[in-house]
């Protein structure tokens, strides 16, 4: 019956053969197992309690009414890559607590609702969770979602721990406990100033601060605000801004931006890109055979950086945590690194702990510490957290100052020998910044 397709089918076969011939240049697929090898290198770790003030009663199965923590996460839609990561950490923490005998013998339970990456749904999701009488809530991922959830959560008097809160530079309330702290904010429109200063300090510590810089930033709230602060800071330090362009979210072709960069050939390339932008930019660099003298990337997807392989060596990345001493060398961090790599591999996520996963754990540590110290009562938890410091995987956090932002914990990481390591500030650095543009 199918007389018609034959010539075209023949053509397809032909074209496939031709393409095969075209690229007959050795093995097409590398026998690349390095990522798996690195996972295998993660040392085994012993079970410890997830927070400092808690004893781990291994093997004692928790009984009684569960303590339910509810949360809304973007499990589908454009924010899903990070949303699922936070979901994975939440499940991990709940299992972890329950393996340690629960909280005061009561099991912990995680109840998550998908918000389809839509802020409007976040609001009703929290209303729904609070209506269902969950004991506590965990914040969502992303600035718009965090602010959308803040309304019902605050009104109901719940504590609102958040892992990352993007850019809401406006006050949420005294019940807000961000794990990713952006302290030192006195003027809310300059909330990234401290972070920008950290970057500047790091660059200056090398003794070779950049004389020129080129900025390429994605149209995304956080990246734009952060870029603004860095431009001001670098200009203040005498760096020439060679170029400053913005591009649309979802841009896949960076060749004109790459060429602009090549033309300017600056000491520092600042990429305010999220997700896979860094991959695509490097592809454009490859195409024109250009190698940036140095590059700093804010908020890249970890998988995108890892995928660059050797090319990423020397790349600087915004970070609050990397798996290196001193932060990465505690029993809690080691156990988390180990279990997270297992969970993430199961869920097809990037298997190493970095900013997002660490912030997620830290948010849980804040909540768990609050519960352990204040009891199963939101008002008490809020009061205790506002008055005390919490020891988390990303460092000691306090909840004061503007928007409860406490101290600034933004750090600079660098890829060295294929591994991400914190290089600044010195108290958390696992290696020295290697910067010589």
């Amino acid at each position: 019956m199918f007389h018609a397709p034959r010539p075209a089918v023949r053509g397809l076969a032909l074209s496939a053969a031709a393409v095969l011939l075209l690229t007959a240049c050795g093995g097409v697929v590398k026998d690349d197992k390095s990522a798996d090898d690195r996972v295998a290198e993660i040392p085994d770790a012993e079970l410890v309690a997830p927070i400092a003030g808690m004893e781990c009663a291994e093997g004692a199965a928790p009984t009684g009414d569960p303590i339910v923590v509810g949360g809304s996460l973007s499990l589908t839609g454009p924010l899903a890559p990070t949303g699922t990561l936070h979901d994975a950490v939440a499940e991990l923490v709940v299992d972890w607590v329950n393996e340690c005998g629960g909280i005061d013998g009561r099991p912990l339970e995680w109840k998550v609702i998908d918000d389809q990456s839509t802020p409007a749904t976040v609001t009703s999701n929290y209303e729904r969770l609070i209506g269902d009488k969950v004991d506590f809530v965990m914040g969502p991922y992303g600035g718009a979602a965090t602010l959308a959830g803040a309304g019902p959560v605050t009104r109901a008097g719940y504590a609102y721990p958040t892992a990352t809160n993007g850019a809401p530079d406006k006050l949420i309330g005294e019940n807000h406990f961000p794990a990713w702290q952006m302290g030192g904010v006195d003027d809310p429109t300059h909330m990234f100033d401290a972070q920008a200063q950290t970057l500047l300090d790091a660059l200056e510590s090398s003794g070779n601060p950049p004389e020129s810089a080129f900025f390429a930033t994605a149209k995304f709230p956080t990246t734009l605000s952060y870029r603004g602060s860095v431009v001001t800071a670098l200009e203040g330090a005498g760096t020439t801004i060679e170029g400053d362009v913005e591009y649309d979210l979802g841009t896949t072709d960076f060749s004109s931006i790459a060429i602009r960069i090549q033309n300017a050939d600056p000491d520092l390339v600042y990429l305010g890109g999220i997700g896979a932008d860094v991959t695509n930019l490097y592809q454009a660099f490859d195409a024109i055979g250009y190698e940036p003298r140095s590059i700093y990337v804010s908020l890249p997807a970890p998988a995108a950086v890892a995928a660059l392989g050797d090319k990423a060596d020397g790349m600087m990345i915004s970070s609050i945590y990397e798996d290196n001493p001193p932060l990465g060398d505690t029993p809690i961090a080691r156990y988390f690194t180990k279990t997270y790599s297992e969970v993430a591999q199961r869920d097809d996520l990037f298997p190493f702990v970095e900013t997002q996963a660490a912030a997620s754990l830290a948010a849980w540590q804040i909540l768990l510490t609050g519960i352990t110290e204040g009891g199963v009562d939101n008002a008490a938890v809020i009061a205790w957290l506002n008055a005390n410091e919490v020891d988390t995987v990303v460092g000691k956090l306090s909840f004061d100052g503007f928007n409860n932002y406490g101290i600034d914990i933004n750090r600079v990481a660098q890829v060295q020998d294929g591994k991400r390591v914190l290089v600044w500030p010195e108290d958390v650095a696992g290696a020295e910044l290697d910067y010589n543009p």
Binding site: F2, S15, L22, C25, T76, P81, Y247, G250, D286, A303
Partner: protein
């Protein structure tokens, strides 16, 4: 900002090569839309699915990327036939088909994210250097460089589009397809069997998504929401090229990407997407009653 002519040439070249990739995605859309009257958003999903299947076959079974076509092409052919069969069964109106393909678009995004996780997947690190090291062009343009992957995109686009255009214009089956679109009843009296032909066209169009998907998986990191980023350029290229004209769609995609890149070189890159649609509106506004309208409205006229 002054830019050397060399830089301009390079960015235009890159744009053209990426345009080839979009052109090969637009190919299937153009054929289905122009010749079957189905504005098929599902085609974009199929392309994504093809990319993910390629990724899995390469990473899990360590197949050669080109070898994956042996699986994906026939499988997608079957899918294309199946969808068209469904349209035939329910005697779907054009708008109904549009809605159904949109629903399938939503479903596919979820299926992909369920199977492969919503996180970024990247095939590039696994590719041999022959794929990723850029090549300098031979004289007289030794300063310009291209990536082998882009060349693959070029070859695939040129082959598929060329074949499709040749088939449509110069083969027995292609003429039958054109005839069917213009006057199905008369085509039937000439021996054209409409149902098998539409099924075959739909199947072949879907099969091109397998090839385009393979190129996508080599070319860019994969996320389930990728098709949303393609819709704009692919749909505009399809319309600008003239529905049912694969060569037109390819040329339009190449030109659009070149314009976008040239624009981004001198003007704020964030306005580049608007330029694409500006071109579309300009085209629609300036164009008298020809091209797009011609195909769809002339058949209704009677003297």
């Amino acid at each position: 900002m002054s830019v050397s002519s060399l830089a301009l040439a390079q960015t235009l070249l890159n744009g053209a090569l990426l345009g080839c990739l979009f052109g090969s995605i637009a190919l299937g859309l153009s054929v289905k839309w122009g010749h079957l009257g189905v504005a098929d958003f599902f085609h974009l999903s199929l392309t994504l699915l093809g990319a993910y299947l390629t990724y899995s076959l390469v990473t899990e079974l360590l197949w050669d990327p080109f070898l994956t076509l042996a699986v994906t092409v026939p499988a997608f052919f079957a899918v294309g036939v199946g969808v068209q069969w469904l349209f035939h069964l329910i005697d779907a109106q054009p708008f109904t088909t549009l809605l159904i393909t949109f629903a399938l678009f939503i479903v596919t995004e979820s299926v992909v994210s369920m199977i492969w996780s919503p996180d970024l997947l990247n095939l590039r690190p696994l590719l041999s250097d022959g794929f990723t090291t850029s090549i300098r062009l031979p004289e007289p343009l030794p300063q310009l460089a291209v990536q082998p992957i882009d060349l693959v995109a070029l070859v695939c686009a040129a082959l598929m589009v060329g074949l499709a255009a040749y088939t449509l214009r110069s083969t027995r089956a292609g003429r039958a397809v054109q005839a069917m679109r213009q006057d199905a009843a008369i085509a039937e009296t000439l021996g054209v069997r409409v149902l098998p032909l539409t099924l075959a066209v739909s199947g072949l169009a879907a099969a091109t998504a397998a090839v385009a998907g393979m190129v996508v998986s080599l070319r860019m990191p994969l996320t389930p929401t990728l098709p949303l980023q393609w819709i704009g350029i692919v749909v505009v290229a399809t319309m600008l090229g003239g529905l049912g004209r694969p060569l037109g769609a390819l040329v339009a995609a190449v030109v659009l990407m070149m314009i976008q890149n040239a624009w981004s070189l001198w003007f704020p890159p964030q306005w580049a997407p608007a330029v694409t649609f500006g071109v579309l509106f300009l085209f629609l506004a300036l164009q008298p009653l020809t091209r797009i309208a011609r195909e769809r409205f002339t058949s209704g006229r009677t003297a």
